[in-house]
Symmetry: C2
Subunit: 458 residues, 2 copies
């Protein structure tokens, strides 16, 4: 199609509310083989729905193990989604012009949610199903704070209590994140905390001072498991969380269809994997159907490279070893990543479903250093007007690399990136970068040895 | 019309891009009399376009004095507006339910702009016209930081330098605001600064330590006046700024028409008045035409009550007395308001155009204390999911008062508020409120005497 040549024009591709998807997409039935099941750490037998019942409401457990391709989004969830959805798809004309690239770059922007990121796509249904199941309170962990903000937002709308363990390093460096959660009525602890057994035990080791997602999960799970009125919620990793995020990709497909454009490369950052899955799973479906053939690329931080340097093995989702064993790309549940600014990507493992899809050869992965990410972020902010969170700058960095490569080769590339949240609470990181004080992470193979050696034997 | 009764439903009233207004509305020709002209401080004669030429490009000066009712929005400005416009109009069902009120409350949300507030509606055209006039740099002041953010955003998109004087109290309490401007490439000074003559002179007086908008304006004007490649930009007060904001009200009118609803009360916060004018002027036009009859209410902070306790007189727009004399409601250009959290409302004067409309009896005004505002803000955040900036909480506080009054009387009220920005950079203020440490301002009549006595004699 003939595209508008005005370089200042923001091409925003919108959908009417009536075009918003009303179902989530479950990729599992479409895969050549199903992912290996989670195992009970005691019996090493596959975990059944009843094993998960102390932590999650049955509706979410059934979504976790569903073999249906599509699951209806409840009307009450759709009503709240409509506060910010359908989210816009933008063509990055300002960035393209600054790079002088022939590549066409698009970004699907999830920072328009009141919580500031894609996390609200799953916090709202999780709060809804917990409310429906009669729960009074939800506990969770948060890394960068995006997930904690999104869950406290959703809990406030459904009248649920919310108790959050925020990774220590993030708690210390992002006080506004904690305040945002408190404004929504949540109770926030610095993790490791002294209000849980796991927190006291792990917090006694000085190497755990800055915390990790694995430790914070242990704390939140412990409290939820003790209280029949409480449930635990996870912001990534699990199948049902990835499922809820697929509305992103379903919308993006409809938006691309509107402009008669097909991406040749999808890039999304990966921590636990939910943002990446949300954008890419519907495109992988189209790829499996032979309707398009984009490269699907996950981008992770060089300091926490579970896909590119981890092992594909059964491991715990948390540090204390309280969760089922999941087969995933992992750096070991004891691995404590450097306290980089992309706190949302500091997770030792990768979603089992994404790990499986990676093993199937349906996607690729790269790791990047944070200074390259922030350099890309500044370029993006000054040309596109949006200040990204540190996490999606990983995808932007790769999009820029690829666009510059296209400039050399003249190849026609259509790049789609997941811009999963804004960076309003991450400006101290930008400050450090602009002052020239940001450091990259230099990890030797030996840095991974001890945590990998401590993987459970299955 | 039959309205949806589901209390959890966010009623978002959207416009298609094709329904976005393409003209700004100039209210002056529709008023029974024109506002008194600005005067040259030396000659006391009305200021002509040439007097303003050292500071502003001619396109903006012609808008300032225009007698046309409608002015076309340039295509390049529309292209950028489309990044976030048309902005959503929401029905506040969650808040209504929590209040148990029969009133219907709507809010027009401008926090969806990448700069986070309505200020981008004027920063984009101001940057555009300056670029078109060959300017290389724009100087400005900023109070809360919303305007500085919006101007630095617009300058980055048009490749202009941006130099900003941020009111000292805001600079100290909102470091993320400065960082956001720096991410967009702006240079930011704490005002009073030592890089201007005005800053050095006024900064020598300890009472000016926390600064004021009036002082910051003096500094920005001084630098722009010295540099032929530079221009000055104001984020409120002037006719052309209010003009650019009318797209808010024009959209809101179209959105109300879609749901066949008519407001009975409009409330907007007022500092310099641009947000209030943006929403209300198109409704005042409809009122003057006899098509509807809403009460139009400005809400100002009790600590800076220019409409409710100021004098209608000629005064300077800045503290050093460098601007033309404008007839407006003023507390005196020497007045330094308490350092409240709504930094955007800490201005000694009120837009001359709004002051004139107030004198004509076409609108009313109230003043509220900040603790009432933050109490309203918490209620709003926990029911509507959006954390408002301190400025629009003034309008929310009055909307809640009126909705509770309607609950007593059973009166059918349809309230429309201007939610002009989000509070992501104002969370320290929320923290102070939640800790119970926020103070209200208690001003006696004698507190206003000295600044009012120093009004220029005209």
């Amino acid at each position: 199609m003939a595209l508008d040549k005005n370089p200042k024009s923001f091409t925003k591709i919108t959908l009417d509310e009536g075009e918003m998807p009303t179902q989530w997409y479950n990729i599992i039935p479409d895969l050549p083989s199903p992912p290996p099941p989670p195992l009970h750490p005691g019996t090493l037998q596959p975990v059944g729905p009843d094993d998960l019942a102390p932590l999650f409401p049955m509706d979410l457990i059934l979504q976790e193990v569903s073999s249906e391709s599509y699951i209806d989004i409840p009307g009450e969830v759709l009503d709240i989604y409509r506060q910010w959805r359908p989210s816009p798809l933008y063509r990055a004309r300002g960035l393209e012009k600054a790079l002088g690239t022939p590549a066409r770059i698009y970004y699907k922007y999830e920072g328009v949610s009141p919580a500031g990121s894609h996390k609200a796509n799953t916090s709202v249904p999780q709060a809804y199903y917990n409310k429906k199941a009669g729960k009074k309170k939800i506990t969770t962990e948060t890394g960068a704070g995006q997930w904690g903000t999104a869950l406290s937002y959703a809990c406030s709308l459904f009248g649920l209590e919310c108790e959050i363990w925020q990774v220590g390093g993030s708690f210390d460096s992002k006080p506004y994140r904690r305040l945002m959660m408190e404004v929504f009525g949540a109770k926030v602890h610095r993790s490791p905390s002294n209000v849980t057994e796991a927190g006291r035990r792990l917090g006694a080791d000085p190497k755990n001072f800055s915390g990790s997602l694995g430790i914070a999960i242990s704390e939140a799970v412990e409290i939820a498991a003790q209280d029949p009125d409480a449930a635990y919620a996870l912001g990534s990793v699990l199948n049902h969380v990835l499922l809820h995020q697929t509305i992103i990709g379903e919308e993006a497909l409809r938006q691309f269809a509107k402009i008669e454009e097909t991406p040749t490369l999808l890039v999304g950052c990966t921590g636990g994997g939910s943002n990446f899955a949300g954008l890419s799973f519907p495109f992988i479906r189209e790829k499996l159907k032979g309707k398009m053939n984009p490269e699907i690329r996950a981008v992770e931080p060089a300091s926490c490279p579970s896909l590119t340097r981890g092992k594909y093995a059964y491991d715990f989702g948390d540090t204390a070893g309280m969760t089922p064993l999941m087969k995933m790309h992992t750096l070991g549940h004891d691995f404590i990543p450097d306290p980089i600014h992309a706190g949302g990507l500091r997770y030792h493992g990768m979603s089992p479903l994404i790990s499986h899809i990676y093993e199937l050869g349906l996607m690729t992965a790269s790791a990047v250093q944070q200074t390259e990410c922030f350099e890309a972020a500044i370029k993006f902010a000054r040309t596109e007007g949006i200040v990204p969170a540190p996490e999606p700058t990983h995808a932007i960095a790769i999009a820029i690399r690829e666009a510059l490569e296209a400039k050399k080769t003249g190849e026609e590339k259509v790049i789609l990136t997941a811009l999963c949240g804004h960076g309003h609470f991450d400006l101290a990181a930008y400050d450090q970068f602009l002052r020239g004080d940001m450091k990259d992470s230099v990890l030797k193979d030996s840095d991974f040895e001890s945590a990998l050696a401590a993987l459970p034997r299955v």
